[in-house]
Symmetry: C2
Subunit: 382 residues, 2 copies
């Protein structure tokens, strides 16, 4: 499967599209979005039977721009190594959809959008959104595109939570779910890291209770700190050690508060880049969506009970050095699926990169996903 | 050893003392402290041979107040479970000294002290201090107290780094070193967490380049975030899970930005408490001291070479669930000591509490330390 031209094959130039919805969407938190837009991209062709569509859900800071590149920039999609002609999710066989989630900051309705009730940006008034709300909105996008049943829904990390939620919420609307680097819910430690990020943002004096857009400012200091915390949890300790170790920027210690270690430079650079393009209100909402995700909660903590109606085939993939969502957490999902005699395939990939491994081009990982999609493709009735 | 009255035995009411030094102290970073004060406490009695003194070095947020309590408050010393009559470090046998390190905020000369050159608080101008600088100042305190050679120097975490540095810097001035929950240097991940804490403080608009005291303010927002990050690394994932798990404050999710999970309340509470008593400039300097500690650096990264002159007996203790300074890091120290045929005892304590375990009263841990101090006591010539 992994041919030599995997690295160059691309879906090519892509263009985002917008779908507008005027049917009110009731959110889990109780509020209602009267109308909203979703920005999305598609790659490959929908077959006549409308049976080859794959929905790819994004994680924390990604977007609908999953593969290919834009005409006017070299901005490559965040999972371009996974999706394209001849790639593990092969656009010669599948019609792939990427969508920016509600509350996002890449074009779908979110805190920076205009609140139709006030004519001003939503800001801090934009409601809390959950994984289930996102899945509901994605189902409406599927309706809009005339897709009754996905061949697969796929995601990594928070994206995988959506892929898992699809199996519970719309069991008849997907045939497979691909759940990569996931957990059935956040641990106390995961929530704690999210809370640090939120506090950094909320206590930034430029936050203004979320109404910073109206003040012509943005809580960039807080967003930088939030990103630094997050970034640490995406990499494994070993990966950081081998990439940066204790390397000093100037070869020897200066005993000042200037940047001394390469790891400090790297984090500051990542933080600055992130704060320049990401929206703080979106970041807050995405961390809350992560915190709240817990399908077992409604079943008294019994994940098996929560997954009892799953009919999709499920591929669960974890990475050995992922300490954000460790293999042990993925195995909780697998065990609960096995309790229900679900069709589950589980693989633990020995990879050094930590949580971020799901985004990287590891041959064993990609061969595994490619093989799974081969099976999915074989089932498709054109 | 661990008798039933261990829990109640206390050194009783204690009073801090101040030692003033007018001999200039050259710091590793190049600057010179012309004069300085160290605040310290002592427990037990120095014997006639001056051979039963034990120095206890503190970690990040602790102080000279190691054991006992103050007359006018119920403020108990931070290692009171370890030190007292009949306790592992038995004040019936040993003369114990606790000292607040230079750059601290509990009475020793630090950023809040008056800079004699300007007549104003040092603030951001207080120099960077290192573990070695602290050890040098502690050696002067030993001179001041007429102690030529310690029976032992002891510490946990950053305190253990000082206990280790003593064996390198003053090999003839201690007979034993007790190195608990330590690492031979910080990993890239450790430095990364420190850098998050520093950025949170430094980018707080109330920081004023460290001169906040003159502005009548303090960067409490940043200090809170710094403390939250630190706190996460002190506890194990499992300990957080068993203490807080996903417990909701109000039993069910509210889908708002109010505190939802117990772990959030806990972190916020700890952060507020800390920001009310701790100084941000001190916090910055202590994290830098941690980052810089690396005895092997001067020997081309060879820890064995750095420890070649060690003559003290050394007890190294680690805790299985400590992910800040994992047992693997302690074993690096042990291996380097064994390379030098040093007298080393190593114990890995199976404890669920993470890094904080070194402060807790675990019977196996305390019995081990007690047994080691029995041996130290047996060697003492009164």
């Amino acid at each position: 499967m992994a041919s030599n031209d995997t690295h160059t094959a691309s879906v090519g130039i892509v263009r985002p599209q917008i779908a507008r919805f005027t049917d009110p969407l009731k959110l889990r938190g109780g509020s209602v979005l009267r109308e909203y837009e979703l920005v999305y991209e598609t790659y490959g062709r929908l077959n006549a039977g409308r049976s080859n569509a794959v929905l790819v859900c994004h994680a924390l800071n990604a977007s609908h721009h999953v593969a290919g590149y834009y005409e006017d920039s070299d901005n490559t999609g965040w999972w371009d190594n996974m999706i394209g002609p001849g790639k593990p999710l092969d656009t010669d066989h599948f019609f792939v959809i990427g969508v920016n989630n509600l509350g996002g900051c890449h074009g779908s309705t979110g805190p920076s959008s205009i609140n139709p009730d006030t004519g001003k940006p939503w800001g801090g008034d934009f409601p809390v959104v959950t994984v289930e709300d996102w899945v509901d909105a994605q189902a409406r996008l599927a309706d809009h595109l005339g897709i009754g049943c996905f061949a697969a829904v796929m995601g990594g990390s928070l994206g995988a939570m959506q892929a898992l939620a699809w199996t519970i919420r719309y069991p008849d609307r997907l045939r497979h779910s691909i759940v990569i680097a996931c957990a059935p819910n956040l641990s106390a430690q995961n929530i704690a890291f999210n809370e640090v990020a939120r506090q950094a943002i909320i206590t930034d004096p430029d936050f203004h209770g979320g109404a910073y857009q109206l003040q012509g400012t943005a809580p960039k200091r807080g967003l930088r700190v939030a990103r630094m915390v997050g970034h640490i949890t995406y990499l494994s300790d070993d990966e950081m050690a081998s990439k940066f170790g204790r390397q000093l920027k100037h070869g020897k210690p200066g005993y000042t508060f200037d940047t001394e270690f390469q790891i400090e430079s790297y984090l500051r650079h990542q933080a600055n880049k992130f704060a320049d393009y990401f929206d703080a209100n979106t970041y807050l909402r995405i961390t809350k969506a992560l915190d709240y995700f817990d399908p077992a909660f409604a079943c008294g903590g019994e994940l098996s009970a929560a997954l009892k109606d799953v009919s999709a085939g499920i591929l669960v993939v974890s990475f050995t050095t992922d300490w954000r969502f460790s293999p042990e957490r993925s195995r909780e999902i697998v065990r609960a699926l096995l309790d229900n005699r679900a069709r589950v395939t589980y693989a633990e990939i020995d990879a050094p990169h930590g949580h971020d491994a799901f985004l990287l081009e590891d041959p064993r990982y990609h061969r595994l996903v490619a093989a799974y999609f081969n099976r999915v493709a074989a089932e498709i009735r054109p």
